[in-house]
Structures are given as C-alpha cells and as structure tokens.
Amino acid sequence: MATIRIDQQEYTVRDGDNLLQTCLSLGLDLPYFCWHPAMGSIGACRQCAVLQYQNEEDQRGRLVMGCMTPVSDGAIFSLQGDKAQRFRKTIVESLMLNHPHDCPVCAEGGECHLQDMTVMTGHRDRSYRGRKNTHRNQYLGPLIHHEMNRCITCYRCTRYYRDYAGGTDLAAMAAHDHIYFGRHEDGVLESEFAGNLVEVCPTGVFTDRQLVHQYTRKWDLQSAPSVCTACAVGCNIVVGERYGKVKRVHNRFNAEVNGYFLCDRGRFGAGFVNLESRLEFPALRRPDGRYDALDHHRALEHALRAMEAEKVAAVGSPRASVEANHLLRLLVGNARFYPGWSRGEQGAAIRAMELLRDTEATVPDLAQIETADAVLILGEDVTNTSPRVALSLRQAVRNRARDMAGELRLLPWQDAAIRNLAQDTRNPLHIAAVSNTRLDDVAASHTCLAPPDIARLGAAVLEELLPGEGQHFGDPTVDALAQQIARDLRQAKRPLIIAGAGYGNTTIMEMAAELAAALCHGGCEAMLSLCQGEANSMGLALLTGTGGARVHRLEDMIVQGDIDTLLVLENDVERRCSRRGFKLLRKHVKTLITLDSLDTATTSLSDLVLPTASFAESEGTLVNHAGRAQRYFPAFPPANERRPAWFWLLALAHERGIEATSRLHQFDEITRHCAASIPALAGITEAAPRSQFRAHGLRVPRQTHRYSGRTAMRAALSVHEPKQPQDEETPLAFSMEGSQRDTPGALLPYFWSPGWNSNQSLHRYQKAVGEPLRGGTAGSRLLYRQGHATLERAAMPGAFEPRENQWYLVPRHAIFGSDELSALSPPLRELTHPAWLEITPAAAQALQVIDGDGLIIENERLRGYRLEVRINPSLVAGCAAYSAGHAGTFGLLPGEWVTLQKDPDWQRREPAVIASDRGGVA
C-alpha cells in the first residue's frame, strides 16, 4: 500500500496501480478515453492529465498522464490544479474539432462517454473556426453500425478488436487527423466478439445496428439483470426493453464470469423474443388443423382433461429453467420424465456433469481460465460452442507476457509496453480438433484428428504424465506432440484441460478428466473445463442424473410409443430425434401438449400449446457449464396470456393435486423446494436474493429515474396512465422508484452514476476498478472439489480407421446457427448459412462434387438427408462434418458411419463457376 496526496487529501492506495485507476477507485472524477480497465493504458488521448509535484516545496508541478503514472508512496498530485483543468479542457476541445453535433440523432446519446467527459471538463465554447473532417462510413454487417465522423481517435476499438480479441479485419488507417478505423473494404466484421465495440467505443462510431433501427435512449429502457441463454457459459447480461420489445442486450459485469465482454451470439441473439410468430394466447388445435385462441382458464381445462389419461409423460428441456424442469418432473413423476436431450447429447451431458462433480481439479470460471498458463483443448471447437471461453483463452496465453513484463518491472497495465516486449511470446495452447479452429493463430500446436484419435492423444499425453502400460499413440509425430504437450502441462502452475460435449464423445471428456486428475496428483492447481451444449444443460444433468433414476432417452420413448398424453416443455422435439422419430411422435402420442415461447415444428404438431414467457419476460435459474447457478429476471411482464413455464406447470400441478406442490405458490418457493429435494442443486437458492429482498426498504427499480413518456406511450389508447404492473416474484419493480444503492450484483438492472451516464459508470459499482461488484458477485457455485478423484485408468481407445466409401460423422458447430434460440434472432439469421456437410478435397474428388453441390447421406438408420457440400481442406480424412443444430441435420448422430453420394437433383444456391469463366484457372 502507498500513501499519496491528491489535492491536499491523503489516501492510502494500492502500490503500483496507475493514478487514473486509483482516482476512479477512490470515487474521484478524472476524465479519460483511451484507458480501459480490461485493456490497460497506452497514453493516447492525454485526457487524464493531472499535476504531479516533486515534493512539498514544489509549487508549480508538472503535467503527467494519470493512466501512465504509477502511484508510489509519498507522491503528491492535483486534479483540481488550474493548469491540469485547463489542459484537460483543451484536450476535449481538440477532440471536438471534428466531432459532429449530431447527439440528437446518435444512438449513443444519453450514454455517451464523450458527452460525460465533455461535461466533466467544463468545455463549452468552441474557438476552432476550421471545417470539420468528414469520412465515408462502411457497411460492417448486420450487427454493427459505423459512423466514422464521430470518431475521437482513442484507439480503443482497434486495441480491443486486434490486441484483445485477436481480430484482423479492423485497423487504424491513414495518419494525422485523417485516421480512419475500419476495414480494408466494406463487409461483415469477422470477429465473433465484434459486438463489444459498441461498449468499448466511447462515443457513437460503433453502435448496435439493431438499436439504431429501433431507436431508444438508455434512460428510456426498462432493464433487468439476466443471463444469456445462447450457450452454456451463462454470461451475465442486461436486457433492455421498451414498447414490449427487447431493444438490446448489454454486458453485465461479473468478475468471475464474463467480465467486461460478451460474444456476438449472446449480444445479438435475443431477437427471438420479439418474433411476431410467438404465440400470445393458448392455442387449441381444431380437427381441420387450424388453431383456436383460448384464455388461460380454458387452456388449463383442456390440459387437465388430457392429463387424466392413463399414460402421461413429459419431456423436459436443457434450455428451460431448473424450476420449470423440476415442476414438470413433479407433475408426471420421475419415471415418466424424459430430460429432452437427443441420443447424442444425453450421454455427453450427464457424463460431463459427473466428471466435473467428481473431479479433484478446479472447475474454472472464465476468470480462472484467464489465469491458466498452459492449455490443452481436446476436441472442442470452443469459439463455436462456448464462444466467450475462446476470448478468455486469448487472454490466458498472454500470461507469459505479463511474467516477462514483471521481470523488467513493468506494471500489468502498461499494455503497449508489454505487447512490444513480449511480441508473439505466448503460453502454450495445444488444440486437437477435427479441423482448423479460430484459436489456431495463438496456439502452440493444432492438430487435426478424428474424435477417437483425439481421445487417444489424450491417453498418450496421460502416458507421458503418468507412465503406465506404454499406451502410445503409435504415430511418431503425434507421440512427439504428446510429449511436448505433457512437458508444457507439467511445467505449468495452473494447467487447464478443456474438452466438451461438442463431438458427443464421452471418451474424450473422460481422458480430459484423467489428465486433470493426473496433473492434480503432480501437485499443481490443475483445471478442468467441459463445454456443454445449452444454457441449462448442466442444471438438467444435475436434476436428472442424480438419485439413480433411470434416465430415459427421448427417441426411444417416442419409437416405443404408447403414450396418451405428452407434455413438452420448451423443447423442439424435431431437433432431438431422427426424422423417423419425429414422424412417429404424432402417430404414437394421442394428445401432445407443448409449452414453449417459440413457434417450432413441435408446437405446430401439438393439440394444445401453452405460450410461455421467454427468458426476458420471466424468472428462472440456469446452471452454467462450470456448475454456477445464476438467476435471470424479467425485464418486462409477458404480454397477454403468455405466462412463465413454471406458472403453467404449477397451475397444472395444483389442479392435479400433486402433493409436493400444494404449498408452492411463488417462484421462490419452487426454487427452495427444488433445492431442498435435490442435494446437487441445494445451492440454487443462493443464486440471487429472494423476492422479499429490499435495499434500504425499497425495491430495485427497472426503470431509470429519467424514464420518460410512460403516459405518452399509451396515449393512443387512453391518456389515463394505468398502475404499473406489480412484481410479486422478484425484488425488482417495474418502476423508476426504488433504490439501486448497495444492490447485490445479481439484481443490478443497469449501470448509472451521476455524471457517468455511459457503461463506464461501472467502476462506481465495483470495489475498485476491475474488481468484483460491491454488492457481491452474482451466482453461486454448485460444484465443489470433492477430492475423491480416483478415476479408473481407461484403456487406450481404439484408433480411428477410415473406411472405404464410408464417412464418420462429426458435428461442426457454428457460432451463428447451431444454437436454437439465437439463430432465430433477425440480425444473426443474416449471418447463418443453410445446413451443410464438410468433406475433404479428396472425398470431394472421389464423390465428383464441388463446393455448393448436394450430397445424399444414408445408412441403415438414416434416409433422405441431403446437404450442401463444403470442402474443408483441414478436415481429417475419413470424416464428414455436418452443421450441428441446423435445420436439415437434425437426427444425424456423431460417430455414425454413413455413405455419401452426389445428389443429382440438387439445386445449387449459386451457379457453379465454370473454370473457363475464370480465365481457364481451375
């Protein structure tokens, strides 16, 4: 600690921080632009200038940049000194020379860091008389809007995009006051994390393209703390609503999970909530196949009548909350509850849960992943299955750079200096996958192997770590690689093994767990992370996989048939079974009742549909891939007869007289009942405060205190403003009244502080800049190290042997498209591709197909699958990779052998290029 003096006031602060972060942590207002808590200092904007005095006698002082000045004991500074204030004012005036006066039409207005800083410095009058520079804007895709004239050249965008996120197609171009931040030509930004530019840019150069089209000010958004449902990582988000529509998703800081950044799937994937196709009323199917709208009483009557049948079963869902799944299971009984995974998914999800539950290694949150000093990824394309993990891995490989910096006594925030020093020196990251991945550019090695061989590579590494029965891979190159990987892992203090459900191969996950256990025995803090499929895969696995209950497979159940009434909870059965299975669903089930927020193939088959509220309109608990239970809260009440799934199920359970539910009335009570009856889920009550929680006796307001136009919004209907909806289920209020002070992290609906209207106000909610929220970090960990990891050493799996004229199916995930919900979001739909099958160039030649042709996929189980060909030169020979989660590939299972043949009737989306059209160059 160091004692410093700022404007005659003494403070005890942390030694070695820079003065800017120190000031912000102390709650002092010091304006800045280029510094970012996650990206450190470069000293470009010169906005955070303060006076530093050499000693007591020094009366003049000299200007230093806060962000570039380490605090040390005895240092004397002045923020208020006249010269410092005038300098900062001049800097803002300089930044404003070319800034347009378009705040009224700028999507950043009202939450603009530049506005805040301009007001903070007191700059008002413009003395510059010259013309403003103008630029041409670029089309950067459906997610990001570009308005280059507003740029103040702080370099945050390229530092984030290139240095932090590893993107290559956004750069600073030109020089002097003509600097241009953009792409070499118009086009969709390539990075999967480009959306963070919206929050990183201190003004309106990069804005949310959807928000620009659906113009709403931050102060007019009604927001709630929520959890992203687009993958199993469970990033914390803020959902902002107005006029009954989700307007945008912003990052909600969680020091242990997502920190400051989201992926684009999460940020732009909530658009499905606004779909016109979503039902607002329960729907009853008429004999002619059309539907009647019902009120919820009649809908419940119909449902209850159907449930009086003898054989009632239910299908849960890995995208529904723990509470809804729990109620559903109570409703039909354990024996008739099907978790709702496909054949491939079920084993993987349950096994991943067991491995993580029983491992001796640490199961890391993203923040812990960023501390890893050696990483092995076994068969998981994290960028496409758990995208935010990939961004954390990009930070992890820079730990060696920070170590090098430490040797030169550079401080961790001296970003430019550290990057110049370390250049391309990185911690080892080894990747084994079926083809190239998006992390290969920072990997020490990436090797393409078929899933069984990836497991064998794991076994070979294990053999190097714990020499045993001489289980070598058999290929000298791979064995040498295994030695190298083992060496890197052994030398690390915090090695991390990543695998996952992505390839549907449980052996790989088991190998990963064994490796982590072996490293733990070696005495280091090994970490094991297993990526999962969906937002609540882990929650559902914990719910179903315990207590020894027989776990049923959805498709087996359908094929065996003989069900009178089937309840399907927020699940599209079409995605979970083969085409034959889905066809039999209608045949084998007499009454099909679906509860869903979406219009899916399953709802279209149903006899009765109960419309449920989406994650943005309801509350629920999700358990992320690392076993962290997190709560999402409704941003706005569900329209018309939409109800949270738990509400429908609880009503049914009450009417059915289910004993266990007789005392349950509120959401909190369901959570508590679930926690009490399932030991593995005991911690879910800690995920967020109960509905009775009050801060200073008040609820937490969802609306800002400047929220406007509440009367005007309804003026077309009536000028009398109705009472705001009451929220009985959560501590939040649909109102601007209440208190945000000392709010727990799990309840923060937005970030705002006087003078800090932008998201930069976050530091006012943190213990210190970059540190956890003062109100506590959201979520509760359910998995604790059990310490009894005595895994049986698995035998060396069999080698992958390519077959003549047969191909081994592997799933290929896509960040945009593989996830059911986010793929429906309109901006992301623009970035998704129709289903495809990747094959190697050799296979393409053998099959006489080129990119864009069609292939027929068949085996004894599969018929009628036709997919577009994509040639992938990096794919392992003998494998064919299908686009997982895309309509057209449902029912394909990982590890199946299929035959392929050219589809003679295939209509190409684009005409094939004839070689002679390209000047004869093939």
């Binding site: 005038r86 002097h176 020093l421």
Partner: protein, 428 residues
C-alpha cells in the same frame, strides 16, 4: 584542420568503394576495435564525450551502457539500428555521409554492434535516398565478401548481419521508437518510455538506435582515441559536426567543422552571408523543429549547451535562414502544415492540436485572424510545447518555431491581424 567525417568526400561527391576506403586507412578502426573487449570499446566512446548527432545530443556512450550485457541479458538477439531517415526540414547532412562514404558508416556500425553485443544491424533509410541505399547495399555485399560482415568477422569470433531497410516515408519514422514500430511492420507510432529501446526495442529485444553522423564517428574514435576526439571540439562538446545552411544566403551548403564553431563563422564565412538585397531576420539553428534565434545570437558557439541556453536547440546543426522578404507567419505556417501532416495521429494534442494551430496561422496569414487567436496560439504552445504532455517529441518540436516566432516576431503577427492581410503579400 582535422575533418575525419568528410576526409573521403570530394566536391564532386563521387562515392568511395571498399578498396578506396581501405586504401585511405579504412577498417583500421575495426581492426583496433575487434582487438579490444566490448567493455573497452564502450569506455572509449564514453570518454570521447560523443553526443548523439540526430538532434537530442544524448551522450552515446551512456546510451549504450544501458544495454544489458553478458548474464544480465536474457538469451536472444540484440539489435543495432542506424537511423538514416533524415527528414528534418532543412537537414541534408546525413545524405552526404551516406552517399559519399558508406563504408565509414558500415565500419562504425560494426564497431557499435560489437560494443553492445548486437548480432543484427539495420540501416533504416528514407526511401528517397535511393542512391545512398544502393551504395550501402553494395558496400554490405562487398564487406560480406571480404569477411568484414557476416559470421566470424575477421576471425574474431564475432558475427554481425547487416540489412538496409528503405522506409515507407513518414517524418515520424525518424523518432527512434516509431522507427522500431515501423521496422516491425506496424504503424509508425512512437512508444511510451520507459521501457527504453536499450532494454525492450525491436521485437522486444535490446536495441540501440543511432544517427548516421553519430555512427560515422565511431571508427575514428576507436582508432584514434577519445582524447583526440575531445580535442577536436572548440568548446565543451567534442568532435566535429556537420553544419549546414539553407535559405537566402550566398552559398548554401554543408560543411564539417569543429564542434562549437560560432554561428557567425558558419553563416558568414562558409555560407557567404546573406544573399544580396536580403537581411537576416532570424534562423532556426538545427532544423524545422528548433526555436528561432536572431542576429543577436550570431556569436554563440554552435554546440548543444550554448544553443540550449539561448533558448533553442542545436538539433541537427543545419540552419534555416529567415530573411526580411519572407513573412514569418507564413514561414511558421508552412512548418506547422508540415508537422500537422506528419503527425502519426496517436495522441490528441499532436493529432488535433497541430491542425488547429495550422488553421489559426492560416487565418492570420490570410487576414482572417482575430486578436484572441494569439491567445489560442499561446495556449497551444503552453500545452503542446511541453515534453510529457504529448506522446513523443514531434508536437513539442513543432511548437518551437511558433513559440519563438511569437516572441521575436509578435509585431508581425499583430500587423497581420490589425491590417487584415499579410503585409508581405500586400507589398507585392
């Protein structure tokens, strides 16, 4: 008079090849140097009191001594870079040395690299100097053939590989850290110091960047000793200096003279005094980014400290003369336009402040100026002119002519504003 730097340079500026250079005693310094330990070489340079000739005048030996040696240095390359990106307005001294005596530079670089333990050397040369670049490349090839460069130089066990890199052409590349960024293939943005390049420079490795003239002195110092070099200077500063004069003088040019030669000698004796019909109003003593001096300063010695005390900088030692037929506002505006154009765009005061100053000067020059414009310029000088307020020294350098013009030629600025036009243009 001993003129070591230009002993091989003739009035017709014909180049000298390796044989000619050796016949004239060349590579004798290298022979001596390789016989010494690097520490001894460093000591000679330190004792010689050689100061950097690129403009800042930092003691060369001291700069070299910061390079980690032996066990202090983590394993890997060390680099020597010759800054031949001569772009300072009014400066053309390095060109002469590069074009006419490339081996003098190469020999100096080998010795410098040997002293700091560098195994790779780059000559970062502005691309307009294509003749010099070609001669250097030829010189390097010749040296490699003769065993003066490459592995195991002259059987000493020391190896050095030298490369010529032609700059893509930005003024800022003359700033040593921007030069390094550029050489790495990145934007030519300067870097914050510390860490200094001596510790973390090119590719993050220890690196020394020296000016052409500095490095051209090295072989002579190693060969003839520090005392000889000290004795060359007329004042405290050692050695000779390449001085130059441009502007309306009778005989503009470049000469090697003892360090500390009085300005009057350079201007009147060598440059022949002002051209007929023109009077001296002032001059920039060391290139475009130094403060004006006036006729009152003509008897000062041209060395680092004397010029510094007079309120300017020796800079590159090449004078730009302002005569009475040239409008000082226009003169300063012209320079400001240059610096605004050459800003790398990294930090705000430089990127936006220089065009702002240029715009105000433009208004004044065109008769659109307002009295408060002088306050704006004063504010710019105060805030942009101080080292430390900006990311590198470009913007403070750009402010030097403006700040001194406001001091010495304030009446001219006021006349522009009061008359609503440029008096010089009105006179025509």
């Amino acid at each position: 008079m001993d003129r070591p730097l230009t002993r091989n340079i003739h009035a017709d500026r014909r180049p000298i090849d390796l044989r000619g250079y050796r016949d004239n005693g060349g590579y004798e310094g290298l022979r001596v140097g390789l016989g010494l330990s690097p520490a001894d070489c460093l000591q000679r340079i330190k004792d010689s009191n050689l100061r950097g000739r690129g403009g800042a005048g930092f003691p060369t030996g001291l700069k070299w001594s910061f390079v980690p040696m032996g066990e202090d240095c983590s394993p890997g390359h060390k680099y020597l870079i010759c800054n031949a990106d001569e772009m300072e307005p009014g400066t053309f001294k390095d060109r002469l040395l590069l074009e006419c005596d490339p081996h003098q530079l190469i020999e100096g670089m080998i010795l410098a690299a040997y002293t700091i333990g560098a195994d790779v050397a780059y000559i970062f040369i502005r691309s307009e100097y294509h003749i010099a670049a070609q001669r250097l490349r030829e010189g390097i090839v010749d040296c490699e053939r003769e065993g003066l460069l490459g592995d195991n130089i002259q059987g000493s066990g020391y190896s050095l590989h030298m490369h010529v890199h032609a700059s893509a052409g930005r003024y800022i590349c003359g700033e040593e850290t921007a030069l390094i960024s550029s050489l790495e293939g990145k934007r030519a943005n300067p870097r914050a110091k510390p860490p200094f390049p001596q510790v973390s420079g090119l590719w993050g490795r220890p690196t020394i960047v020296n000016n052409v003239e500095t490095l051209s002195n090295i072989a002579h110092i190693i060969e003839r000793g520090p005392q000889w070099f000290n004795d060359l200077g007329l004042t405290e500063d050692a050695g000779t200096k390449m001085y130059g004069v441009s502007g309306r003088v009778k005989n503009p040019g470049c000469w090697e003279l003892p360090m500390g030669t009085p300005i009057r000698t350079v201007l009147e004796e060598y440059a022949g005094g002002m051209a007929d019909g023109y009077e001296l109003r002032g001059f920039l003593p060391g290139g475009g980014s130094t403060d004006f001096l006036t006729a009152d300063h003509l008897d000062l010695a041209m060395d680092y400290d004397t010029i510094g005390k007079a309120g300017s900088r020796l800079g590159t030692g090449t004078l730009i003369v302002l005569d009475d037929a040239t409008c000082p506002v226009g003169f300063v505006k012209n320079l400001m336009d240059f610096f605004a154009q050459e800003s790398c765009g990294f930090c705000t005061p430089c990127r936006d402040g220089l065009p702002w100053s240029a715009q105000v000067l433009d208004d004044i020059e065109n008769g659109q100026g307002k009295p408060e414009d002088l306050d704006t310029l004063e504010r710019q000088v105060e805030f942009i002119g101080a080292i430390g307020n900006t990311h590198c020294a470009l913007a403070p350098g750009a402010m030097e002519p403006l700040q001194s013009a406001l001091k010495y030629f304030r009446a001219d600025f006021e006349a522009h504003i009061n008359q609503g036009c440029c008096p010089w243009k009105a006179r025509q």
